[in-house]
């Protein structure tokens, strides 16, 4: 299954705005996407799940997706996570 490991760029971590942009992109992709931080893995379409992982600036997370176009979707999601929306 395709994966990407990225470092979070936003200064306050994956809080409301970056989290919602991420979830929005996951939902729009129509693919099942999971987000893993440490030993916790969850549904990337769940904003509460994403927020409750407590992902901070500089944390490493792994994305994975399955289906047609999974690589392109993962590239797009990785781009969101490595952009600093608090700037």
């Amino acid at each position: 299954m395709p994966e990407r490991t990225v470092t979070i760029a936003s200064a306050h971590g994956l809080h409301a705005r970056p989290a919602s942009l991420f979830v929005q992109a996951v939902t729009a992709s129509g693919l099942p996407v999971t987000l893993t931080k440490g030993d916790k893995t969850l549904n990337g379409a769940s904003i509460l799940g994403v927020i409750s992982l407590g992902i901070e600036h500089g944390d490493q997370v792994t994305l994975s997706a399955e289906g047609d176009n999974a690589d392109a979707v993962l590239d797009q999601l990785a781009e969101i996570l490595t952009t600093d929306f608090d700037a």
Binding site: G13, H15, R17, S20, Q24, I47, I51, H57
Partner: protein, 564 residues
């Protein structure tokens, strides 16, 4: 109706309004944990319908609001349609609970999780409470919590307003705001100041008001008069008319009653708002934030790019003062090419001038661009460094600016150390400008961005004012200008106190100019100094404000009409 009662809070601005009140609807009570009588399938259908309808409703409100509010509301919409939450709700319904109870418990569980994480995540808990309330209101077919939307004008009474509420205020209908909680730097107060809404915040007893009560809200005194007598109503109408007449007086330069000029300048963050600032009578720009030139870029803009922007700015103020602040990155607004290392305490880290110094080529480019633009226009271009803490930093910045062709270079006073040594710092600089928001944050050791310590963020605090006074004294002794830029200068009465402490110019968001101009014109230099002494001798921000307000309020405000 012969006796009226009064409530007292903190007035924002100088406005006056009369009208019927409407309260924000009370929060819904916790739903009972009785077993469902409708069966699990029916409850699941109800819950799914309410969650989807709430998400759609929140998204629609976001689209209507636009801007930063839309981002917050979009995140809330995703919370309402969260798949993990929905699974959790369905599990609870399977165990025999009603849809209301299942929704309530599911949100509480996530809320507690966020609260336990603390900090910025913890503050998202309020968003979850709001979404939970809306879903349950939908399930029960009752009015959703939030700002009422009647077809007449009203005075809104609330505990405090959340950003989601204020984003949608219909300013044509809301005559005034009264809140029971919140201080002068609360979200409600900042919004009221920005949009020139009459507001009294932190009003004791405000929640005892009932829908339909008529009130007079006077922000200049912080007094709310409930069920006013006919005489009080008439007096307020007269006052409204005379203030309306006063506000149609053509805008002119700021000055005290004895003619002492106090230039009133605008705080700007982009060149888009220039026309508005000029129309409202800004005599120049006291703080031009340059961050917008750098946001969204992976690398710093070129000298030529920057020069074009500064030239447009200076050209709008021919012959006038324009103070450009060098790039202020870090803490609440990090830039990827300046703030490379994560920090535990960014507000105490490599920010402001410290970050620029670590990347001197960016600072050199910016100063060169400003100097070139100044040479091509007639504006009086000044440049200042953000977050200066030491005499050595002031010397470094000023000499670099002069080397690159800037004629007037100064420093911002935001760190208590810089205020305490203002005599030596000003000896090295052409001027100082006090950033009251950061000065308050550092003096009271309270994070500006953290709601839980918001009550400490009050520039009326005598400790902050004493530091302002140190800078004022140093400026007077050395004959150097001392400006104020920050929320404090937009509070008309505090602006008077700041002048008494030695501020020689005031810079604020353009919306605040008219009120501050009117307030300054009421007092002489001697009075501003008397008010400054009163504020300095108080023990707290609240006491300081009350003491100055009482000294500044005419003893018989209703006896100026000719009929009496």
């Amino acid at each position: 109706m012969t006796v009226s009662t009064t409530l007292v809070g903190i007035g924002i601005g100088r406005g006056l309004a009369v009208g019927p009140i409407l309260r924000m609807p009370d929060p819904l009570p916790e739903p009972s944990d009785a077993a469902s009588s409708q069966g699990t399938d029916a409850e699941k259908v109800r819950a799914a319908g309410a969650l989807a309808a709430t998400a759609a409703d929140i998204r629609l409100r976001g689209e209507r609001a636009g801007g930063a509010a839309q981002d917050v509301l979009e995140a809330q919409a995703f919370m309402a349609e969260d798949p993990t939450l929905k699974d959790d709700v369905n599990d609870r319904i399977d165990s025999g609970k009603t849809a209301e109870r299942a929704v309530f418990e599911a949100f509480v569980q996530f809320r507690d999780l966020l609260v336990s994480m603390g900090g910025y995540m913890g503050e998202r808990a309020t968003d979850l409470d709001d979404v939970s309330q809306r879903v349950r209101a939908n399930l029960q077919g009752v009015a959703a919590p939030g700002v009422p939307d009647p077809d007449y004008s009203f005075v809104l009474v609330a505990r405090d307003l959340a950003p989601a509420d204020t984003a949608l205020l219909d300013l044509d209908k809301v005559l005034a705001l009264i809140t029971s909680d919140g201080g002068p730097t609360s979200h409600t107060a900042i919004l009221a100041r920005e949009k020139s809404i009459v507001a009294v915040v932190g009003t004791k007893g405000a929640l005892s008001l009932e829908d339909g009560d008529t009130v007079i809200v006077d922000a200049s005194t912080g007094v709310v008069t409930v069920d006013p007598t006919d005489a009080e109503r008439a007096a307020s109408v007269t006052a409204l008319e005379s203030r309306a007449a006063a506000s149609t007086v053509p805008v002119g330069p700021g000055a005290l009653a004895d003619g002492t000029p106090i230039p009133l300048l605008a705080n700007l963050g982009s060149v888009d708002k220039l026309d508005d600032a000029v129309a409202k009578g800004a005599e120049g720009v006291g703080l031009f934030r340059t961050e917008f030139l750098f946001l969204d870029s992976e690398t710093a803009p070129t000298v030529a790019d920057q020069e074009a922007k500064y030239t447009a700015l200076f050209a709008a103020f021919p012959g006038k003062k324009v103070v450009v602040r060098a790039l202020d990155a870090g803490a609440d607004k990090p830039l990827s090419f300046l703030n490379d290392e994560p920090e535990e305490n960014p507000a105490l880290g490599l920010r402001g001038l410290r970050a620029l110094r670590a990347h001197e080529s960016i600072l050199r480019d910016q100063l060169t661009a400003v100097a070139n633009a100044a040479a091509a226009t007639t504006a009086d271009a000044w440049v200042m460094a953000p977050m200066v803490s030491t005499v050595e930093e002031a010397r470094y910045f000023v000499s670099l600016a002069k080397e690159l062709g800037v004629k007037t270079a100064g420093v911002m006073v935001e760190v208590p150390a810089a205020a305490l040594l203002a005599d030596r710092i000003l000896a090295e600089s052409d001027f100082a400008s006090i950033g009251t928001n950061d000065l308050t944050q550092y003096t009271l050791a309270a994070d500006r961005l953290l709601g839980s310590v918001a009550s400490f963020q009050d520039p009326w605090h005598p400790a902050v004012l004493r530091l302002v006074g140190e800078v004022g004294k140093a400026g007077a002794a050395l004959g150097k200008p001392v400006g104020i830029c920050g929320e404090a200068a937009a509070d008309p009465l505090l602006a008077v106190v700041l002048v008494g402490l030695g501020a020689t110019s005031l810079s604020m968001s353009p919306a605040a100019l008219a009120d501050v101009r009117a307030e300054l014109a009421r007092f002489t230099t001697a009075q501003t100094e008397e008010f400054a002494e009163l504020a300095l001798s108080a023990n707290s921000a609240v006491e300081a404000r009350a003491a100055v307000l009482s000294a500044a309020t005419p003893k018989h405000p209703n006896q100026h009409t000719e009929s009496e």
